[in-house]
């Protein structure tokens, strides 16, 4: 369901919590190193570029919604009747609530504790998973800037673990262009070995190397990502623009034009009130 381009986002079940106060962004808490604690918020660093479509009903172009369906009762299930379970056997589940999930690693769900620093050059890019930015919250601006500056001066990055939603992440916190970036890393256990695909014969032919070097010499450049655009996305947008000019967009029917008047009590009260209003 979740696409890779969007990165990890905590999944909240609606187990009876009702309407919660508006959450800001993805995650907020503090980042710390030794005895210094800085209040921060996690902010997105990347956004999927794909064109977003809506699924519609071909009959009348009403938008479709995804719902959870109980195959036993053959009915749609509202969010407050949905719980999270772990399968321990056929049709046997252990239910886990949000609070229990947060209790698993309470020391790490609101704190990113940097316990050591490393040289990012030692980190093979294969470890990188998903990037974010850390934005200082009120009061933390000075300490935040200090961390940015000293990591820049020493050319080091911090390593920490923290929990967001259902998962615990190993992260590298680095200084980049005056800002703290947080990159989630894969655990070493998740990185597959490549021995099986590495060629057994490692011999490097000098002539072959020189031939390749010759080609490369004329192809050196600086990395400028703006040079490359997603061709498919552009084609889709062009197609949509063309279609927009040819035909008016479709609109879903608004409402059921049912004859029913509404709840009896309300209608009666309205009738009585209307009479009074007209008398005025």
């Amino acid at each position: 369901m979740k696409t890779r381009a969007e990165g990890p986002v905590p999944w909240k079940s609606s187990s009876g919590k009702g309407n919660e106060p508006a959450l800001q962004g993805i995650w907020s808490g503090t980042i710390s190193f030794s005895l210094v604690a800085i209040p921060v918020q996690l902010a997105k660093a990347v956004e999927p570029g794909r064109v977003s479509f809506r699924m519609l009903h071909s009959k009348d172009y009403s938008p479709l919604a995804r719902r959870m369906f109980c195959p036993e009762e053959e009915t749609t299930v509202p969010p407050d009747e949905i719980i999270r379970g772990y399968e321990i056997g056929p049709d046997k589940y252990i239910v886990i609530t949000d609070e229990e999930l947060e209790s698993v690693s309470p020391e790490r769900s609101r704190t990113i504790e940097i316990v050591e620093f490393i040289d990012m050059k030692e980190v093979d890019p294969v470890y990188y998973d998903h990037p974010y930015y850390l934005v200082p919250s009120k009061g933390g601006e000075k300490a935040y800037q200090l961390l940015v500056e000293v990591m820049r001066r020493t050319d080091k990055a911090g390593l920490a673990k923290f929990v967001m939603g259902e998962r615990e992440y190993l992260v590298a916190v680095k200084s980049t262009e005056g800002v703290l970036a947080l990159i989630t890393l894969h655990y070493i256990a998740e990185i597959l070995p490549y021995e099986g695909i590495s060629p057994k014969d490692r011999k490097i032919d000098a002539e072959e190397k020189n031939r390749i070097k010759k080609s490369i010499k004329n192809m050196m450049a600086d990395f400028s990502p703006e040079k490359y655009a997603d061709g498919r996305r552009k084609k889709i947008m062009d197609l949509l623009k063309k279609k927009a000019k040819e035909k008016a967009p479709v609109e879903a029917p608004q409402v059921e034009e049912e004859e029913g008047e509404g709840p009896a009590d309300l209608v009666a009260a309205l009738k009585a009130s209307m009479r009074k209003v007209k008398k005025r």
């Binding site: 407050d80 490097i204 498919r232």
Partner: protein
């Protein structure tokens, strides 16, 4: 530990007079505890369904169309054949356009890594590995895979080649845009801070880190399965260091680690 997955695609690395057939393999396998969504009442596993927001009834796939919202509630319909036409031409070419110095690409652009296995032409493959390592460069390339366009960096790692897919420029939010007010920091604070970091610096040893949360989660599940009551703990929140106490905190920290 399992081996790299089977080949998911085949392509040809192409630039100048170099043409190297390769097979792509995934490099990462994430293992995660999977939860299911259940019906609270009877613990029946739920399934997903698309329903019509108008009549609230389930809609079969044949009656579903894609629309692009151009104005509130107004859509342009696009059908699968039209989308097909917009798909890039299939080809097996991984075209390298230029080479850049390793380390130039900001990690924020890096997406997925694929291992490349040589498909016969081992001499050329090994030579390319050698050249990329010697010159400390990566190749910027584009290719089409499964009807999507990709941008990536061709890298050498150990004895193999890798393809690291890159995000497009307009998918990345520039760090430069976070323009923070310049807060004066004293040289003392900066020096102590730097000392502190150096004291806490060590080599990158990824083998030290395990997904402990995963273990604890499994443990939690076991305990619940045994019928134990789980105490709900409140997440630890640290008190932010006040700006005027920053130097103090840094000095105390340095004493602590030295």
């Amino acid at each position: 530990m399992s081996m790299a997955g089977g080949a998911i695609w085949k392509g040809n690395i192409f630039f100048g007079d170099t043409n190297l057939p390769v097979k792509l393999h995934t490099a990462i396998r994430e293992e995660r505890i999977q939860f299911h969504l259940l019906h609270r009442r009877d613990h029946v596993k739920l399934r997903q369904q698309m329903i019509c927001t108008f009549d609230k009834k389930p809609v079969p796939v044949e009656a579903q169309v894609k629309g692009f919202e151009v104005e509130e509630g107004k859509y342009i319909i696009i059908d699968p054949e039209e989308l097909e036409q917009a798909a890039p031409e299939s080809s097996r070419m991984i075209e390298v356009h230029e080479f850049v110095t390793t380390g130039q690409i900001d990690p924020v652009f890096l997406d997925r890594v694929y291992y490349l296995e040589p498909d016969f032409h081992v001499k050329g493959y090994n030579a390319l590995v050698g050249v990329l390592k010697e010159m400390e460069i990566e190749g910027i390339c584009t290719w089409t895979m499964r009807k999507r366009s990709y941008l990536g960096a061709l890298q050498a790692s150990g004895t193999i080649l890798r393809l690291n897919t890159l995000r497009y420029a307009d998918e990345v939010i520039s760090a430069k845009s976070l323009e923070l007010r310049n807060i004066p920091l004293s040289e003392k604070e900066l020096n102590i801070g730097s000392d502190l970091i150096n004291q806490l610096t060590g080599p990158f040893q990824p083998q030290k880190f395990e997904n402990e949360h995963e273990k604890k989660l499994r443990h939690l599940i076991d305990r619940k399965a045994r019928g134990e009551k789980i105490a709900v703990l409140v997440p630890r929140r640290l008190k932010p260091t006040a700006s005027d106490k920053l130097l103090q905190a840094l000095e105390a920290s340095l004493k602590h680690v030295a």
